[in-house]
């Protein structure tokens, strides 16, 4: 994998670091939760905890710490959600207004300078990608995004995910295989 790697980027301040990372963190949380407000809340919790507890750490450690907190928050969200869903199914309570999965198309970029055809293709790819990523099991999703998007190596990802390097390799391979199956037509 020879992705563009900005992991060793030097951050001048916490503000600089958070400004750089917030968009990607939000998208990761949004893909994991399928909900904009929940994603914002998760990012807020993560930022607060990083700033309060780890701002005195070296700037080179911030990214790993940030994603470690973010992934834990996302995991907590899923646990709470599964308990809530179990409780709801037990009560047979359906609330149409609650937990509406957002239309992923709403997040599409529309400021590109591509031709209409290319734009449409990008848009379709984005929709398929969002759907395919959301369908991945959480651990696979997190490993895949950390590796491919943040350019983290296997050991860094393993440290953030609190798992072994071989688990990271397995999760990544499985995630990539599923994505290849679902996005194959768009290549």
């Amino acid at each position: 994998m020879h992705m563009g790697r900005d992991f060793d980027k030097q951050y001048l301040s916490m503000n600089h670091f958070l400004a750089d990372i917030e968009g990607r963190a939000f998208r990761m949380a949004q893909i994991a939760t399928g909900n904009r407000d929940d994603a914002l809340e998760i990012v807020q919790d993560t930022m607060m905890k990083l700033v309060q507890k780890y701002s005195h750490h070296q700037a080179t450690e911030w990214k790993a710490l940030f994603y470690s907190i973010l992934n834990t928050r996302i995991l907590d969200w899923h646990r709470r959600q599964s308990v809530r869903n179990r409780f709801r199914s037990w009560l047979n309570w359906h609330d149409d207004e609650d937990e509406a999965i957002e239309d992923v198309l709403a997040q599409h970029p529309d400021e590109t300078n591509h031709s209409p055809d290319a734009k449409l293709q990008d848009s379709q790819f984005m929709a398929s990608l969002n759907s395919a990523l959301s369908a991945l099991p959480l651990r696979q999703q997190q490993v895949f995004l950390l590796r491919i998007w943040e350019g983290m190596d296997i050991n860094e990802t393993a440290a953030i995910m609190h798992c072994s390097a071989s688990s990271v390799k397995t999760h990544y391979a499985r995630a990539l295989e599923k994505l290849r199956e679902k996005l194959g037509d768009h290549q």
């Binding site: 939000f26 904009r36 607060m48 990008d122 998007w149 994505l179």
Partner: protein, 138 residues
């Protein structure tokens, strides 16, 4: 075949990364503002936290100093002397109590009954108690 697969994989990975980057660039204005506001709030918390940490020493020191002054005021040397005198006088007043207890002990103990019936013993014990009384009185 393997090379083809690797090339395809690299191509797919690049496309996915580019698409994800584009999704961040294309975040709507509201979300971008919300994120900026969250960041600002977090950083303010950091400043408040540092400020609190520094200023927490001021009231803590003030409370400790007040407590120390209060202790020194209440237990100043004159007051300590008064307290000692009070304790000493209490001890003198309660000096009668051991005499009764001694008599009770002698009467209830069978072994010392012979001694208790000896008139010389009472003369001796009166002398002893009188001596103790003068020694204990401070």
């Amino acid at each position: 075949m393997n090379t083809e697969l690797t090339t395809e994989t690299i191509k797919l990975e690049s496309k996915i990364k580019a698409s994800l980057d584009a999704s961040v660039m294309g975040l709507d204005q509201d979300t971008q503002q919300a994120l900026a506001s969250i960041r600002e709030k977090s950083l303010k918390k950091q400043q408040t936290h540092t400020w609190l940490n520094f200023n927490m020493w001021v009231p803590a020191s003030a409370v400790a100093l007040s407590a120390l002054l209060a202790i020194l005021f209440v237990y100043q040397p004159n007051n300590v002397d008064d307290a000692l005198q009070r304790i000493a006088s209490e001890q003198t007043i309660s000096h009668e109590q051991p005499e009764h207890l001694t008599m009770l002990e002698l009467l209830t103990n069978a072994e010392d009954l012979e001694t208790a019936t000896d008139p010389d013993f009472y003369v001796w014990i009166d002398e002893v108690l009188a001596t103790e009384g003068t020694n204990n009185a401070v």
